[in-house]
């Protein structure tokens, strides 16, 4: 993975110094909260329900054990002993003091981490495929491109006061494990006539008006990737709406202009921008790519797994994915224990995962947008030892992609933007469906919960989606069906009137019962929904 050189260190250190000074000026009253807010947001610091919340960047979801241990250290030293992994592969701490923020950023900088641009109307964390470098289906590792984009977007002087936030994802496989089509820019590295290029999808997003990003350019030569991205951003910065914050994302601009007109404007700007020489030479890409060279994996390592422990076997079947190198596997650590808080991990658990990553995964871990953790390069012969350690720490729930593997935003328990609590709903649903046999019978069922229309829980992209709303002062929950954030991308359809907290759990049970009654061989829930439509489900829910 990428290691900072002296330039990277100097830039992060400068940012820490800048923000430390901005905090000083805020505490001394030299700047108002209104002036300070965009500055602290550009350093990932929110003011939330209970305290300040700090969102630390995990660039494209990749980190090593030393960094993971620092995340545990921060939880212990500055917070309440836990962190929350997010739907953009980052981590959040909920109990941060403003006066501690400079010290925290210094601690992070000591291990090549930061909170730069994890909020604010600027380019956010570049996300990617959590199985990059390990999955058999990728045509290349997308992360060197993500790193190139990360550096290009960091402290970008022209794009730091955009109309709204800007999220970019980069993948390199046809299977979309990063919800790429629901980003402001989604880039897929593709192959054409023996060459690699970048397909640009621009204008996706969730929130109040969810949209799937249309294909803007099917093949951008990789040498032009930064210039093309710059052109996309410049058109947005100049023409994105600034009159209404709910209409300020690039998806609205593209929707209003039409994809063809947006493309035309980008092409014109690109022709100009290309002449400026902002694209780094291949040597820079090669320098970065070399740091993502595959770890030394022994392909002759034993390929069989001893399944005699039945609990281990269950976990292997659900949570362990195929690695491109024989004798190895991708371990998915679920942070969704039944009845637990989705995405949360204690500092002890984070330390344990760091140890496992170091010992068993060539010192590499990943954060997924489904709020789970990945050990990407584990020898099959080590799986049992890994599982035992995870199991002892409450990290071996064998529910990857099952109904209890819920994506849930922090909701009204933590977030000042929320209208309803999301975590208790997740807990109740997981508890209702706690029987593993029942979950496996239901199969792949991606359930996502957002506590407000901002959709940080990605509910529009849920096979089953839940949106918490405020209905005359009480919490109410809208149910939607048929969304997907994968390559079969679709937006969920609302079923009808909403429910209270217990009502929504019952409604979901009626939905899953109906699925079991309607499905044909091999059909996932979302496939059955797409085949039979809303009507049978609506009838099952509302009678």
């Amino acid at each position: 993975m990428y290691k900072y050189d002296e330039y990277d260190h100097a830039m992060v250190d400068a940012r820490v110094a800048e923000f430390s000074d901005q905090v000083r000026r805020r505490l001394a009253g030299e700047i108002t909260e209104d002036q300070f807010k965009p500055l602290r947001l550009m350093n990932g610091l929110y003011l939330q329900l209970h305290a300040y919340m700090l969102r630390v960047a995990v660039p494209y979801g990749t980190l090593d054990s030393r960094q993971m241990r620092m995340l545990a250290h921060i939880a212990r030293k500055y917070d309440r002993d836990y962190g929350h992994f997010t739907t953009r592969q980052n981590i959040q701490y909920n109990w941060i003091k403003l006066e501690d923020a400079p010290a925290i950023l210094q601690d992070l900088a000591s291990v090549e981490m930061h909170a730069i641009q994890t909020s604010g109307n600027c380019i956010r964390n570049i996300s990617s495929d959590q199985w990059a470098g390990a999955a058999a289906d990728e045509i290349t590792d997308p992360r060197p491109w993500a790193e190139l984009l990360r550096q290009w977007s960091s402290f970008h002087p022209e794009f730091s006061y955009l109309p709204r936030k800007f999220k970019i994802a980069v993948i390199a496989a046809n299977e979309d494990r990063a919800a790429m089509r629901l980003h402001d820019i989604g880039i897929q590295i593709v192959e054409k006539d023996g060459q690699h290029g970048a397909a640009f999808y621009v204008g996706g997003g969730m929130g109040r008006t969810p949209m799937i990003a249309p294909l803007i350019k099917d093949f951008v030569p990789l040498d032009d990737m930064l210039s093309y991205t710059e052109a996309c951003l410049r058109v947005y910065n100049r023409y994105g709406r600034r009159d209404n914050i709910y209409k300020a994302r690039i998806k609205i601009l593209i929707h209003e202009l039409g994809a063809d007109e947006y493309r035309r404007q980008v092409e014109e700007e690109f022709k100009h921008v290309k002449s400026l020489g902002i694209d780094p030479p291949k040597a820079e890409f090669d320098r970065i790519a070399a740091q993502f060279a595959p770890p030394p994996l022994d392909a002759s390592a034993p390929d069989d797994i001893d399944r005699s422990d039945p609990d281990f076997a269950v976990w292997v079947d659900q949570n362990v994915a195929k690695h491109k190198v024989p004798g190895h596997a991708i371990v998915n650590i679920s942070l969704k224990p039944v009845g637990g808080i989705p995405g949360d991990a204690s500092s002890a658990q984070i330390d344990l995962m760091a140890d496992l990553g170091e010992k068993y995964s060539h010192d590499e871990l990943r954060v997924t947008h489904a709020q789970n953790i990945v050990l990407p390069h584990v020898r099959k012969a080590d799986l049992y030892a890994v599982w035992q350690a995870l199991d002892a720490a409450g990290l071996a729930t064998p529910n990857l992609d099952l109904i209890s593997d819920i994506i849930a935003c922090p909701g009204l328990d933590y977030c000042s933007l929320a209208n309803a609590r999301s975590i208790p709903v997740a807990q109740k649903i997981a508890t209702r469906f706690s029987d593993l046999g029942r979950q496996k019978e239901l199969g792949e069922l991606k359930l996502k919960i957002s506590g407000c229309i901002n959709a940080c829980g990605h509910h529009h992209a849920g096979h089953i989606g839940i949106l918490g709303v405020d209905r005359k002062g009480t919490e109410n929950y809208q149910l939607s069906l048929g969304g997907s954030g994968a390559e079969d991308v679709s937006l969920g359809t609302i079923t009808g009137p909403g429910f209270d907290e217990d009502g929504i759990v019952d409604a979901i049970e009626r939905v899953t019962d109906k699925y079991l009654a309607e499905r044909t061989e091999g059909e996932r829930f979302v496939d059955t929904f797409r085949r039979v439509g809303m009507a049978p489900f609506k009838e099952a829910i509302y009678g």
């Binding site: 329900l49 209970h50 305290a51 909920n94 003091k97 006066e99 009204l412 328990d413 208790p424 002062g473």
Partner: protein, 98 residues
């Protein structure tokens, strides 16, 4: 009743105007009546509070109770982590919020 609330600038903790200063405990919150805006402006200007705002509440036997669940969660802490709230030992505290 009208309650004035905000966050402590340095720590971010939720605070409640008592009539004389700021408290972490909603039990100490005072009814600011018609004077909320003036107090808010003065306290925010002096940086004794950050992001203050005025809410509706009602006086109950247990003390002031904010009208909106969001502010009750702010007053106590996250409903899903009773151990992190201001009343970790009180099993009934969550009922007060909901």
């Amino acid at each position: 009743m009208k309650l004035l609330t905000g966050n402590d600038l340095k720590t971010g903790f939720v605070t409640w105007w008592t009539g004389a200063d700021w408290s972490l405990h909603i039990e100490d919150a005072a009814d600011v009546g018609e004077h909320g805006e003036a107090i808010l402006a003065a306290e925010e200007g002096a940086r004794r509070v950050n992001a203050p705002y005025i809410i509706n509440g009602e006086q109950t036997a247990d003390g002031p109770r904010p009208a909106h669940i969001k502010d009750r969660i702010r007053a106590l802490g996250p409903t899903v982590r009773p151990d992190l709230t201001l009343k970790p030992a009180d099993p009934a505290a969550g009922d007060w919020v909901i």
